[in-house]
Symmetry: C2
Subunit: 277 residues, 2 copies
């Protein structure tokens, strides 16, 4: 069986940057998981003693705290800066952009629409930057959009950086048809675009697709959804232990892609295991 | 054969308003055709002595000049106001809107994209309001868009009021994928929307479609194009004299729609003629 990697996959700029920051601050701790990959977080813990807090109240005054790539809500950042010795901001710059857009557009009197998942830490952070918290709306689909009554006639919209561009366009189109001015900020990250396009391309020609990444990683789930459109035998796994022999039975070509938080060493282990099956 | 009118058709707000203005100013003249309908212009000429100038140099100091619904270029309006006794502005308010948007966005440093036809008087007028005339781009399709190198990273876009919304969305989508900020002003007129939706609806269930309007009227051509998508026997005519008997042979249902410049009396004559065939 031929095994082929997508032409673009895995670590993005923001994740690489965050890991480099974490490796530089031994004995620090991250506020929430630094990236959506448990294997890499365990490696940072083992090799660099980087701890992990899940709530603000656990943080101690002497801690050096690293802000995760997804960012955190504005007030949490303020509290951390007040109560902790050192705060290192590893928020991806591509996430800082929608945070600033929401702040500025909200100040200028635009109603805010975020295309994303309300429960995702990135979205929780971005939302928190609005001046008027009653006028920030988060949607995942056109159906969600139909339920919204915007306070203003002018709408500004951003997207969670890891979302599918096709769905963003659908939502934006519905907005344009109903509103006289829509200010569209395309905040979907280029790396996300490239990985999505490459996943589309390789899944069309593969008999089986393996998507490697965190089960709670937004960009990994998008890649999986794109692969499923073109290759019904597409599987999302976190590491090589989840591979099942029967997936590859009578298959001639296996395509591989990985989410933006998936380190190369995890991908290599998956490839080695597939070869051995 | 059943003859049915679209649920929305014909005269829009801007055209009605312009005709009322022209009827009020007997012995005046319009700068370019007031609306895109020769029969109605002849009626105004006959009943209200409203003349028609085709170039600025023909205007005399004592004239009362009416600005057509489509508007005219900024400098032409300035010249008219300087050289003529009285200028009455019958520019449709829905056309004044994109003129102002282009002026303001251009001032704020946005590159301007107009979805429309460079040769259409409305577009010539709207374009002229940009501060930087080298940074106003007019496109009719995605192919046109690909040839443009915008001066700025921020793009503001408006549409000719009578264009097809689906094509505008296609162009806007392509813009969004390539640019970080796109400020979308949906300047397609609601009446245009309504007539287009109604034309779509009736053309689906008709065996033959008659679209009545000026051959150089943008909104009439859009209606014809929409009808052709659903009913291959769709004909664009200016008045009843162009009807051909064989169009209706063995047809069970005939749908009728009309452009925004088509007066009811022209539509009625068409219906009477079809009945007589």
């Amino acid at each position: 069986m031929k095994i082929e990697l997508a032409s673009s996959y895995g670590f993005c700029f923001g994740v690489k940057r965050a890991i480099e920051i974490a490796e530089k601050y031994e004995n620090s701790a991250t506020m929430g998981p630094l990236i959506h990959n448990d294997d890499e977080i365990n490696r940072l813990k083992k090799d660099f003693k980087v701890g992990l807090y899940s709530k603000l109240s656990d943080v101690k005054p002497d801690d050096t705290v690293i802000i995760r790539t997804h960012g955190i809500p504005k007030n949490d950042l303020k509290d951390l800066r007040k109560n902790t010795k050192k705060v290192i901001n590893a928020t991806c710059p591509f996430v800082t952009t929608p945070q600033n857009i929401v702040k500025n557009m909200s100040k200028e009197g635009y109603s805010i629409l975020i295309f994303g998942d309300t429960e995702h830490p990135e979205v929780k952070g971005v939302m928190s930057y609005a001046e008027d918290l009653d006028d920030v709306n988060v949607v995942l689909s056109i159906e969600d959009l139909e339920k919204i009554n915007f306070k203003n006639k002018k709408i500004a919209t951003v997207a969670q950086t890891t979302k599918k561009k096709e769905t963003y366009l659908e939502i934006v189109n519905a907005l344009i048809l109903k509103n006289k001015e829509v200010r569209v900020f395309n905040t979907i990250c280029d790396a996300t675009f490239e990985n999505q396009d490459a996943a589309r391309e390789i899944s069309i020609k593969s008999d089986v697709m393996i998507v490697i990444g965190g089960k709670n990683s937004s960009n990994t789930k998008q890649l999986h959804s794109i692969c499923l459109e073109n290759c019904k035998d597409s599987y999302l796994i976190e590491n090589e232990n989840e591979l099942q022999k029967e997936w590859f039975k009578e298959k001639k070509s296996c395509g591989i892609t990985a989410g933006a938080s998936t380190p190369d060493w995890v991908i290599q282990k998956v490839i080695d295991k597939i070869k051995s099956l």
